[in-house]
Point group: C2
Chain length 344, copies 2
């Protein structure tokens, strides 16, 4: 079969994903039996494009290289929007990569719900809807006999959710702990090298790791959202971000870091999700990690998660936690999962 | 459906797998929609058992606790063998966990070939057949429209092959390097603590990590077999164990280890598989690993692999590399993969 893909959101992740598709078409057919057409893209800022015969991927990449958007792309319909793609085309898979809103989940929430109701598979890297409404969305997907996949919501393309949910299937996971925010880990790394907190933050901003308003990272909100996703999607929890005990890194000093090191520990902003007597407990806070533990040696923007299991003890996964190609890879791996399941 | 399982080989791995099945029946049905009967076990030493209605798993576990074998198990047919299970019963999945023979692959090779020819799915932890005949076996499985899975052949239940083959699907993996033999890593760890090589080896033997004849571990044969499996099953290579450049740890001294450390390196028996101009190149040899790399901090019997990819850079997986429950988990996760694929 030829899979028809519709892409909602054409910022960093959508563009990264499209670049991968353009580069790897032949290989995806040959190695993964994944033959596809990208038939539609909708983004109110970077542009819309629709061609039911399949968009010209190389043409799109050229436009991106030239202008950073596809507003001037020729030979395609532009009078469309996200809901048109879901409701009026015969796409098989909706890729939802609009920006995360952790309060309402919108516009992703509406996109994902509508797509599932219309019987489309959904792949997303949008943390909002998954953190806010995982159970409801999965029940809807189950009723409609389609897949909802969201690997890119935690550790970008480093396959933490596939590892926990599929590759470790059969294990009971009693605890997940790790570094799921690269910006704060980068700042802590630079502080260990001697920078003050504010200099390290400025450097992170210059390098594009931190936003102008760094609150979401340095106060632990981003990590807390990922803790919610891990709790609910891997450990069968039912928590919200309000249930996460949360403390950021703004009060950590260079002295704190040096004192910890001299005692054999490194301070990390650790997200921890674990089984407790009354359900799942989650926290995000600066934590002393023994230097002998793999998580202590994760430096810079790298992410890592350690899963505590019954059959295997601790299993640790280390890899990048952000990036347009990295998150594009998450989208692709989710799609290939769906292709495997529905090609038998 | 109710999946019918036949178990060929009832040593450590087969017993570990059976204990998991006995303990987790309810959870496997509820969480994974995996309803099953273990209908047959064949092992010329620890005993045979056949009951087409499904063996009593708790009864088997009691016999194992009592006697370490099932030769006296009552109420079952015992006049069977491995080929009877494959040819004369209606099993859906053959679990092949006989001991590894890296020269002939037997008896696993015959079991796996016959099972695939009879249209049975096969799950194995037996390194011999996979290292010797991966392409032939996969072609046979493809022709018969069944699965051949072998997670337990590398890093036991730590899902290195699922990670590389499924969770990282879409990435190009250009290099795999890591520690895939726990015994030698344990010996090197003890030598860093000051033991001589021969004392460390003796301790490994006392703890059951090393065999009386430790050649397979300390000369790098076991790691080389795993390098072949990684090369052929993950990187599309077509190499044999003779193609692996191999050097063991027997010549490493405590001084070598201390000198390396003082220069910022730790000596590890590293298996490396990488793309070269003329195909896939593989080696196993003591290697200086920079202390800043995750692989340098893998101590004791723990295993780890770092995958170098195009979309994600380096992704590292750390976990146990051996053990009866650990390898039983590998078998279970492979079965659950098959159940997912064939339950849509």
């Amino acid at each position: 079969m030829i899979w028809k893909i519709g892409l909602i959101g054409f910022g960093n992740v959508g563009q990264g994903f499209t670049r991968i598709l353009a580069k790897k078409r032949e290989e995806l057919i040959r190695k993964h039996n994944f033959n596809f057409k990208l038939i539609a893209i909708a983004d109110p800022i970077t542009g819309n494009a629709y061609d039911e015969r399949g968009l010209n991927l190389n043409g799109i990449v050229r436009q991106l290289d030239l202008k950073g958007n596809i507003r001037d792309l020729e030979g395609v319909r532009k009078d469309i929007d996200s809901l048109f793609i879901i409701k009026e085309t015969d796409v098989d898979i909706i890729v939802e990569v609009t920006p995360t809103n952790i309060e309402t989940g919108e516009p992703g929430m509406t996109h994902i719900k509508t797509a599932l109701e219309y019987g489309k598979h959904v792949v997303t890297s949008n943390k909002g809807p998954i953190a806010l409404a995982y159970r409801e969305l999965m029940n809807l997907a189950y009723r409609k006999d389609v897949c909802l996949r969201f690997e890119g919501t935690v550790m970008s393309g480093t396959p933490s959710l596939s590892l926990a949910r599929e590759a470790l299937a059969g294990c009971e996971i009693s605890k997940i702990q790790g570094i799921v925010n690269g910006t704060t880990n980068f700042i802590l790394t630079k502080m260990e090298e001697g920078m003050t907190y504010s200099d390290a933050l400025k450097l992170a901003q210059q390098l594009g790791y931190a936003e102008t308003d760094p609150t979401a990272d340095v106060e632990g909100w981003d990590a807390a959202v990922k803790a919610v996703i891990l709790a609910n999607t891997v450990m069968d929890g039912d928590i919200t971000i309000k249930d996460v005990e949360r403390e950021g890194i703004t009060k950590i000093t260079v002295d704190d870091i040096k004192n910890a090191l001299s005692e054999g520990y490194r301070i990390k902003l650790l997200a921890v999700v674990e089984k407790a007597e009354d359900g799942i407990k989650a926290s995000v806070k600066p934590t002393r990690v023994a230097l002998t533990h793999p998580l202590a040696n994760i430096m810079g923007v790298t992410n890592a998660l350690t899963f505590t299991t019954d059959h295997l003890g601790e299993v640790t996964l280390i890899g990048p936690g952000a990036g347009r190609i990295e998150t594009g890879q998450a989208i692709l791996s989710d799609i290939l999962h769906i292709v495997r399941l529905y090609s038998i």
